[in-house]
């Protein structure tokens, strides 16, 4: 019974920290539910007096000096879905080969690829723009997809390699005795076991590509193809500051990855731990 007050203190501290992490969400939600007339900087912590979805409508469809985010949200979908699927497929194949078919120089090649995961992308932006222009996909969504797929190779390969390394050797040996070759082992042994690996990689790539800003702002300067992160930043930087519309826009841009986090948090965590190599 002696520990009771200490326990109470512990919970109070935990709740205090929880408030620190939740404050921005409180402000986001409360502000975006207010109408413009009600948004008053000096009352920003107050709850909305009436419930209004006007800010969301304006953030989505624009009006009164705003471009709505709806087309940009769609651009993000058009970019993130193919980019995520292709890079997961590539990562799976690469990861399998690195995990099971150690050719000469495989370790060096793998390490060289990993370096690509850490570089500041500023160091490749200038030639990237040149090359995308040359092959005619600069300023297009396919150009962004190509960029994300290529720079996603290191992380997707890493996650799948570590995942396939845990598949018992005996399963692979058994399949090979049955006459399965490189692709046979992949199709008959690895692929059926791959679903958790795919879940981790798909979620990881979805989140990081959806949230990307640097590639988006560099490759897609044309408003018609801009992903939502760029459009949100422009919305927030526009001359008339309507905080309620901005907060609604931010909430809309955050919603897909937040939903993924809420419903698939377990896989999200695993991607996180994998993202830090073998930590």
């Amino acid at each position: 019974m002696k520990v009771r007050p200490l326990r109470l203190l512990l919970y109070l501290v935990l709740i205090a920290f929880a408030l620190y992490y939740l404050i921005p969400v409180y402000v986001l939600v409360v502000t975006s539910l207010k109408s413009f007339a009600e948004v008053n900087l000096y009352r920003m912590w107050d709850l909305p007096r009436s419930f209004s979805l006007e800010s969301f409508r304006r953030a989505l469809f624009g009006g009164m000096g705003y471009h709505g985010l709806a087309p940009n949200l769609w651009n993000s979908v058009l970019m993130v879905v193919p980019a995520t699927l292709i890079s997961a497929a590539l990562g799976s194949l690469n990861g399998y080969i690195f995990a099971r078919w150690r050719f000469r120089g495989a370790n060096i090649l793998f390490t060289l690829a990993l370096f690509g995961m850490f570089i500041p992308y500023q160091s490749i932006l200038i030639p990237l723009v040149q090359v995308l222009k040359t092959i005619g996909v600069y300023g297009t969504i396919p150009g962004l997809i190509l960029t994300h797929v290529i720079y996603g190779i290191p992380i997707t390969t890493l996650i799948f390699r570590n995942y396939y390394a845990t598949v018992p050797k005996e399963l692979v040996e058994a399949a090979r005795i049955d006459g399965a070759g490189l692709l046979g082992v992949y199709r008959r042994v690895m692929l059926p076991l791959s679903m958790p690996g795919f879940a981790v990689v798909l979620i990881w790539q979805f989140t990081s590509i959806w949230n990307d800003f640097l590639f988006a702002v560099t490759v897609a300067q044309n408003p018609a193809v801009q992903p939502v992160t760029v459009a949100l930043n422009n919305l927030a930087g526009s001359y008339i500051v309507e905080w309620n519309v901005q907060m609604a826009g931010a909430l809309l841009a955050a919603l897909p990855t937040l939903l993924v986090y809420i419903f698939l948090g377990r896989y999200f965590m695993r991607g996180l731990l994998a993202g830090s190599l073998k930590g």
Partner: protein
Amino acid sequence: MRLRLKLDAILSVLLILPSALAILLFVYGFIGFTGYVSFSNWNRLVPDYSFGGTANYLRLFQNPRFPITLRNLGVFTGLFVGGSLVLGFLLAVLLDRRIKAEGLFRSVYLYPLALSFIVTGVVWRWLLNPGSPQMGSTGINLLLEMMGLGYLKTGWYTDPRIGIIAVAIAALWQMSGYVMAMYLAGLRGIPEELREAARVDGASELQIYRFVILPLLRPITFGAMIVLGHISLKIYDLVVAMTGPGPGFSCDVPAYFMWELTFRANRFAQGAGIAIILLAIVSLLIVPYLRYSLRREVEA
């Protein structure tokens, strides 16, 4: 069988080839090209690949803005990485004490990680908007006033003495949960017998953390430092969305300066110079780490 193995070996190389070539070209080829551009005379819209020597690097360091961005980057990295490690460790230790609703707390501490730096920047720009003496305080300042802590009010990112520190506060909010998750996973992997043994030897709880737990968690600390460090050195989006360069460039960072110089001012060669310097700084952190993991891999 032998032929089969040989064929498979060739096939494996063929399958890896497209990815390997893509990395070779888009990472190493591009870095080489950027390196070359940084020594060229390409400082207008039309490419000019003539050799200009080290002029771009000299001009960068003569520009007062560039050293400021480097200094800001140092302050930001120290606060952000150091702060995240301390806060993350603290949260993990607190959560490791058989907490009810631990899952809920964990989720709350971790969710900012799912957000884009742009969203974080937009929200924190508002939260740290200081308001004005005439019109009254806003955001966090207003909250401080309401809690009777008005003396803690500052100008946040509008105050050149704070500048980048305000950005670090937002970054800390976003990434500290990640460190918490890493440490918590590590703490769960430490067998209770070890703590028990230390207790029997008469160690206090604090000593157990200092001399038993922390050394065991060293690989996690190391890994988290690498991940946070490279995110920190590359920080760009958060600055764009939250502050821009700020008063007297007090919120400016090299990645931001590089983008403006290259794609706004068309000084491609100077922009490339910043990119190469940034790459060199990140490499100082990453290359030893990769060599270390490669060596461990070969030994394993």
